[in-house]
């Protein structure tokens, strides 16, 4: 199908984008790899598209005060090639090859992936696992929101229709950082049936500050807190059993609740092995 008619404006700056977003029924256009598909299918019919691709400075990856800051317009492919991401955000580096296909990653953006908040997407779970922060600019200025409070529901975030996601920040990895990532998808590049992003700090032979974020199992990424406690104590099977208390996956077109629960346990065992190793 073809999109319904809309007006188009190219934002010159973040302030200009916010100004344009004051129009009723305006939507931001970043990489467009989800938005334009929904326009083509007429699942969304905005009055105005505000294209932020021409705004300079939003495609930077930088280390700032112990955090890795990833600008909203950083493309997945750019992040995949980035030495800073590989070194300071190894969890995101592990997740990136699972996102869509090369041509999608050439165009799709990190900011867009978070703002879209698909429940089966990789990056939202990574940012939750890392305890990251989201930088938002709106008509009343700038604000910062913790990743866990950012994801509100199915495709729903703390962003209002007048806001723009400017950047994400995640704590830079240190020598004792441990990360793990795994997902099940029917084909490479598909959205996950179930996935798991995890990070921790090595504490001798044990793990501390362990955070497990599952995706594809609920409307938003879900922390598996009982499993975190069990796994931090080194008991992988107790952690797998604890998932019953942490997750209540609903049936969807990919798999039943029972299958997803089983797969979540399989992923946890795999990720537990990864967490035992220092990132290469």
């Amino acid at each position: 199908m073809k999109p319904a008619p809309f007006a188009y404006a190219k934002a010159r700056s973040v302030a200009h984008a916010i100004e344009l977003l004051a129009t009723d029924d305006a939507r931001l256009l970043a990489g467009g790899q989800s938005l334009i598909a929904t326009l083509n299918m007429r699942l969304s019919q905005p009055a105005l598209l505000v294209d932020i691709n021409g705004i300079s400075g939003l495609d930077q990856i930088a280390l700032k005060n112990g955090d890795v800051e990833i600008g909203a317009l950083v493309r997945h492919a750019q992040a995949e090639r980035s030495a800073e991401i590989a070194r300071a955000a190894p969890l995101i580096a592990l997740a990136l090859p699972h996102i869509g296909h090369p041509a999608i990653r050439n165009r799709g953006t990190v900011g867009g992936s978070l703002a879209f908040a698909d429940p089966a997407a990789e990056l939202p779970a990574c940012v939750v696992a890392l305890g990251g922060k989201i930088e938002i600019v709106g008509p009343n200025g700038q604000r910062t929101i913790n990743a866990e409070e950012f994801f509100k529901g199915l495709f729903e975030t703390a962003l209002t229709p007048r806001d723009m996601l400017a950047a994400i920040r995640v704590p830079a990895a240190s020598a004792d950082s441990r990360v793990g990532f795994a997902e099940f998808a029917r084909r490479h590049g598909d959205y996950a049936m179930v996935g798991l992003a995890a990070c921790a700090q090595a504490d001798g032979k044990r793990l501390k500050n362990l955070r497990l974020a599952f995706f594809g199992v609920a409307a938003t990424p879900v922390r598996a807190r009982s499993a975190e406690t069990a796994l931090a104590e080194g008991d992988v099977e107790a952690a797998v059993s604890a998932l019953d208390a942490d997750l209540e996956p609903s049936d969807d077109m990919h798999a039943s609740s029972e299958v997803k629960s089983h797969l979540a346990g399989v992923l946890l065992r795999r990720v537990a092995r990864q967490l035992g190793r220092a990132p290469s």
Binding site: P5, I36, A37, N53, P102
Partner: protein, 162 residues
């Protein structure tokens, strides 16, 4: 500037094109309908099949997931331009030699995706070739012959260099 129709200037296959476009027109429809460059195919129209692949500023993208209006000031290369410039003659020949196409609907996108991988140099593993072509669907061949063709070209190009 918040309007439906926009004037754009694009370098398509090395030639400057100036057109007035409706904002809702996707890049692949612009290429096919306005410029009669029908080598880029329209398949799923939501970014899944890869038949509409084109290059923007040397990067392969989905022609159905970009708007023509967004290409103002950019360089667009389609299969007509890339094949016409002799950039992939060896790859095209390998596709023919190994029956890596039947109906040919996916082939332009498949060639552009494969060339993006091959242009990085070296000889990718079969797994890397499959991963790189994972976003390009072929409903005829079963992919085996396509992977064979891409692998053969990678080996030949690496051999020619050493």
């Amino acid at each position: 500037m918040s309007e439906r129709f926009h004037d754009i200037a694009v370098i398509v296959n090395g030639e400057e094109v100036r057109e007035r476009v409706d904002a809702r027109k996707t890049l692949v429809d612009f290429l096919r309908e306005d410029l009669a460059l029908t080598g880029s195919h329209v398949g799923c129209e939501h970014g899944v099949c890869g038949a509409c692949s084109v290059r923007i500023d040397d990067v392969v993208v989905r022609g159905c997931l970009m708007l023509a209006v967004q290409c103002d000031g950019a360089r667009v290369d389609t299969i007509e331009g890339v094949a016409g410039a002799d950039e992939i003659t060896d790859l095209q020949q390998a596709f023919v030699a190994r029956n890596a196409l039947q109906c040919g609907y996916c082939t332009p996108g498949m060639l552009l995706a494969a060339q993006e991988l091959l242009a990085r140099g070296g000889v990718p593993t079969r797994e890397q070739i499959r991963a790189h072509l994972s976003g390009n669907y072929c409903r005829c061949t079963g992919y085996q012959a396509i992977v064979d063709a891409v692998e053969a070209v990678a080996q030949a190009r690496a051999g020619a260099k050493s």
